[in-house]
């Protein structure tokens, strides 16, 4: 039993921390863009199907595995998986559970730092010297140090501030850092999101000469269903991908957070509560800000073409232009980027914690040492994503870690839950200390539907995308070395993480044997 591990201070603290981990930039940027491009209101059908059959079951599985592992002093997948069975290979199946959050972290913190920089430039008014899509795009490029005659200085300053803020909360520990951040940050995030949603929904018809660009039509643009899209397999895959992305399942972070629960703490209601907070932020608030705002200022055709340019363009180029046109726009723009920063930091600290937990639990490293070591490594690892962003380095890291590995790891998790832990034991474990009884049909869903859903996703995805991506189809010749560089970095960290798992168990062999 693990008596010396940290514990959460309150139930609301852990729920807000998990919700904070899930609520990120994707809720306010990625979801509305995906919905508009994939059938509007009709997109919500595959989206909710994926939530009920994939997202919520996986969430419960991760909470269950995490709390189980924490009981024995393991806060990451290698330790949790190994504790469940006798095969020595089990711990290596958990490598992705520490690797994915770390890989996402090294570029996510950089994107998060843009939101801080843009909040600063909104309040100072500097952002509002740009008046159209082209010059605002130029501002973003200049900020990133990739515009003509620009430097990396600004981006590096805000990245460094973001980096130290993240590691400050990590250094302060679970209750004093992450929990406090979530308890303060999440209510602020909700308040800002509500203010922005009200502002957007009360825009009316900003330009009376174009009456069709009204907020009523904007909501129609987002919600009117296009059922023809439902026959397209891509829409179902996109919806399932969004559920993965938004709930942060298949990444290993929830396992770590749940490992700090006490043995008899509820997980059924806590898991459902954190999912519901995330869905509230995504569908209710996320769906009421970006797309309606873009529509009333740019019209249907403009909004569609802007959505097609990607989420970063919507968030960092189009949204500032919209706020420029509003009275007190600098305040709303500042709030918008502050909202994204809070959403970002509550997610990024959760990405640091699995590796911290791994070092603390498996190597018995102190929090201070683990923070310093991990801080140095992640700072250095982030630099290529900053300097080579224009060559697709960041996109490549994002694809492998946040798109491909998460589905693989989720499949591993559910298979281990079903066949190593066993569905009956897992179901029983899920209900220890439970405030609610999970409906019994979920046992059937966990046993058959969720794994089948994941396997179908993987097969379809392999069939549609894997070969072109592996062969770098559509990638410019000049960018190919950088893309291979990103792949090399990923491979390097896979090997390092695997070796660390090997080393940890070698060092703790005697203790491990004693426990078994």
């Amino acid at each position: 039993m693990a008596e010396n591990r940290e514990k959460w201070g309150s139930r609301i603290g852990v729920i807000l921390a998990v919700a904070g981990s899930a609520v990120g930039l994707g809720n306010f940027l990625r979801f509305p863009t995906k919905a508009v491009l994939n059938g509007g209101g009709a997109f919500l059908i595959p989206y909710f199907v994926a939530l009920i059959l994939l997202g919520i079951p996986l969430m419960w599985v991760e909470w269950t595995l995490g709390r189980y592992g924490g009981r024995y002093g393991h806060g990451t997948a290698p330790g949790v998986f190994q504790k469940l069975g006798k095969s020595k290979a089990l711990k290596y199946l958990g490598v992705l559970g520490t690797l994915i959050p770390f890989l996402v972290l090294i570029y996510y913190m950089y994107i998060e730092s843009w939101t801080l920089g843009y909040a600063f430039f909104s309040f100072t008014g500097e952002l509002f010297t740009e008046t159209n899509q082209e010059t605002m795009k130029g501002f973003l490029n200049s900020y990133q140090g990739i515009g003509e005659g620009s430097s990396f200085t600004t981006a590096l300053i805000f990245f460094t501030i973001t980096f130290f803020t993240n590691f400050y909360f990590i250094y302060k520990g679970l209750q004093g850092g992450i929990e406090k951040l979530s308890k303060i940050g999440m209510p602020i995030l909700l308040i800002i999101a509500v203010i922005l949603a009200i502002r957007v929904l009360t825009l009316g018809t900003p330009d009376p000469t174009v009456p069709e660009q009204s907020i009523n039509n904007a909501l129609g643009f987002f919600w009117n269903p296009d059922f023809s899209q439902l026959t397209n397999a891509k829409v179902w895959i996109e919806a399932a991908g969004q559920i993965f992305f938004t709930l942060s399942v298949g990444m290993g972070m929830i396992i770590t957070y749940a490992s700090y629960l006490s043995d008899k703490d509820d997980i059924a209601l806590s898991g459902l509560s954190s999912s519901s907070i995330n869905e509230f932020c995504e569908v209710i608030l996320g769906g009421s800000i970006v797309v309606p705002a873009v529509f009333v200022f740019f019209g249907a055709a403009g909004a569609l073409s802007i959505a097609q340019t990607g989420t970063f363009n919507v968030g960092f180029v189009t949204m500032p232009l919209i706020f420029e046109k509003m009275p007190f726009g600098f305040v709303f723009s500042g709030l918008w980027f502050l909202l994204l920063f809070i959403a970002g930091i509550t997610s990024s600290v959760s990405m640091i914690q699995p590796m911290m937990s791994f070092l603390e639990d498996e190597f018995k490293v102190t929090r201070k040492k683990a923070t310093i070591v991990l801080g140095i490594i992640s700072f250095l690892a982030s630099l290529p994503a900053i300097f080579f962003i224009q060559h697709g380095f960041l996109d490549e890291l994002d694809f492998w870690s946040a798109t491909f590995f998460v589905v693989i790891f989720a499949t591993i998790e559910i298979l281990i839950f079903l066949f190593v832990m066993g569905i009956n034991k897992g179901w029983e474990e899920m209900h220890i200390g439970s405030i609610i009884k999970i409906p019994s049909f979920y046992k059937f869903i966990l046993k058959y539907v969720t794994p089948l859903y994941l396997i179908i996703m993987l097969v379809v995805w392999f069939y549609q995308q894997f070969i072109p991506i592996i062969l770098l189809e559509g990638v410019d010749e000049i960018d190919k070395p950088y893309v291979w560089g990103a792949r090399g970095l990923i491979l390097f960290f896979i090997l390092i993480n695997t070796f660390l798992v090997y080393l940890a168990w070698k060092n703790n062999k005697k203790e491990e044997e004693g426990k078994l």
């Binding site: 201070g9 308890k183 519901s276 869905e279 509230f280 569908v283």
Partner: protein
């Protein structure tokens, strides 16, 4: 906004409000507070 759009928006909002409401009701229900234990003073 078409009738279909209104229906989809209403169903989605009702579903999420109900889910959130259910969770908070269960969490803050007096008899469940007892199960939560002293660590939840912060709640």
């Amino acid at each position: 906004m078409t009738t279909g759009g209104i229906i989809f928006m209403a169903i989605s909002w009702i579903f999420i409000w109900s889910l959130s409401g259910f969770c908070f009701y269960k969490m803050f229900k007096p008899q469940n507070k007892g199960k939560i234990g002293p660590r939840d003073v912060g709640m």
